[in-house]
């Protein structure tokens, strides 16, 4: 599904991605992990075309995506920080995003799932951080796309919403979607990820299943296994 070859990105003097190669097959949940500042978000933003790499190539479904924009119609993205125009209501925002994409959306089900009905007519500036994140999740999951990218989806969510989120991810996976997820919550990774992609110093340091990682690092606990990788 995704092929990334020799990807380089520098911000000024800081090298963030340093010849990264990565191949991701269709279907399944891939957790992108790594210490703070290891380039997870930069990698995701390269995939989205928001950050323009200095060198290298990215293919999605065998088509180069650099400088293209059409491919984003088949991609859902959840940004790390949910900040929306403050003077719109939740309903208006959802309608606006729907209007921007020539695609069917099933927002009703998701609004019910995350309990957002009482907030639909509220202005976004009056919402709490967790509620904003729920709106963010609705905007991400309401379209039917092959590739779903989630950047820290668990931020600010209460336990119930977190359970719903995990179920939603599971559901999308069963439908054969490819899901990339970055998070620092290892229990989430342990529960839902099929494969782990570990980034360090702008390169892929480890790629494989959770079990393979535990075996390689001789640790039973995923958190410790990841910590072992970082050391």
């Amino acid at each position: 599904m995704i092929q990334i070859k020799n990807l380089h990105k520098k911000f000024g003097r800081l090298t963030v991605l340093d010849g990264l190669d990565l191949e991701i097959d269709k279907g399944g949940v891939f957790a992108i992990l790594g210490p703070n500042g290891s380039g997870k978000t930069t990698l995701i933003k390269c995939l989205l075309g928001m950050v323009i790499p200095n060198k290298g190539s990215i293919f999605i479904d065998n088509q180069s995506i650099l400088k293209k924009w059409n491919y984003r119609n088949n991609l859902n993205y959840l940004p790390q920080i949910a900040n929306f125009p403050t003077n719109l209501s939740v309903k208006e925002l959802i309608n606006m995003v729907k209007n921007l994409r020539p695609k069917k959306a099933n927002e009703k089900e998701l609004i019910g799932l995350f309990g957002l009905k009482p907030f639909l007519n509220k202005k976004l500036r009056n919402l709490s951080g967790g509620t904003k994140q729920k709106v963010n999740l609705v905007l991400t999951f309401m379209f039917d796309s092959e590739l779903i990218i989630l950047d820290e989806p668990t931020t600010g969510l209460d336990p119930i919403a977190l359970i719903h989120l995990k179920k939603q991810i599971q559901k999308e996976k069963e439908n054969g979607k490819t899901i990339l997820i970055t998070t620092h919550i290892m229990s989430v990774v342990d529960e839902i990820a099929d494969e782990i992609v570990f980034l360090l110093d702008g390169k892929i340091y480890f790629k494989g299943s959770v079990d393979a990682l535990k075996k390689q690092t001789k640790q039973n606990n995923l958190e410790h296994a990841i910590a072992e990788l970082m050391m």
């Binding site: 323009i52 491919y71 209007n99």
Partner: protein, 260 residues
């Protein structure tokens, strides 16, 4: 692009500041017309205000809108929309909503005063036209500055400096050079120097139409010879177009390489 344009206009039409701006022009128009009771004098006073104020408001609105909608722009960037269309839509949205405030705010008092029956309608139209150009020019310049400056405070600072330079400092240099080199023929120089500042160009364009160029002496005569003719007029409008076109072009160029 039209969708983004529509949303930024709606977004701005909901903001308090668009109305403050609109009511400012509305009350200014009424006060000037009914205190002056002379439409020509009112137009000259208005010109002096428009020429300094529209660029300032355009600059501030442009920078403010860019930085305030940054996160939302990032959300848009992840949608299947071309990058340049997002920013062009926003740019046109700001410029158009400011133009709307100017046009309606000044239009209402003038229509009440009986503009359509007066000969001043041409001068008034020229004034509005220049105001529209200044809106588009300065919002584009502000967007350029904001796109090139990550830091919000710095971006604001540069934008205000840019306005201050074109509205005030440029004229200072212009004057000093005229005084320093007054032994040389300076009419060509002044003509060219005027072109390099959209505010000066707009001012001259209006002044010469108002038949007060005689006050400007010999240079005024040269200016009148140039700007007063149809060719000069068209040429100046063309230069104003360039002042919109070049910043917009740079915006597009800058966007191709920018990381968000």
């Amino acid at each position: 692009m039209l969708k983004i344009l529509k949303y930024s206009i709606f977004d701005l039409l909901r903001s308090r500041w668009s109305y403050v701006y609109f009511f400012f022009y509305l009350s200014l128009g009424f006060v000037l017309l009914f205190l002056n009771s002379d439409i020509n004098k009112a137009i000259i006073t208005l010109m002096n205000i428009i020429i300094v104020l529209t660029p300032l408001i355009g600059t501030i609105f442009g920078v403010m809108y860019y930085y305030n909608s940054k996160e939302f722009t990032e959300l848009l960037l992840a949608q299947p929309i071309k990058r340049s269309k997002i920013f062009m839509g926003q740019y046109l949205g700001i410029a158009l909503s400011l133009t709307l405030s100017l046009f309606i705010g000044l239009g209402i008092p003038f229509v009440f005063y009986g503009l359509f029956k007066s000969a001043a309608i041409f001068d008034f139209s020229l004034l509005i036209l220049v105001g529209i150009f200044l809106n588009f020019i300065f919002v584009a310049l502000a967007y350029n500055i904001a796109l090139s400056t990550e830091n919000k405070i710095k971006g604001f600072g540069y934008a205000i400096l840019m306005w201050l330079f074109l509205a005030v400092i440029y004229d200072g240099f212009f004057m000093i050079s005229l005084i320093l080199f007054n032994a040389y023929p300076l009419d060509k120089f002044s003509l060219v120097a005027t072109m390099f500042n959209p505010i000066d160009l707009s001012r001259i364009l209006i002044l010469l139409k108002l038949d007060i160029s005689a006050l400007l002496g010999y240079t005024g005569a040269v200016f009148k010879d140039f700007f007063g003719t149809a060719i000069g007029f068209i040429f100046s409008i063309l230069i104003l177009f360039l002042w919109v076109f070049i910043p917009v072009l740079r915006m597009k160029f800058k966007l191709k390489m920018k990381d968000f």
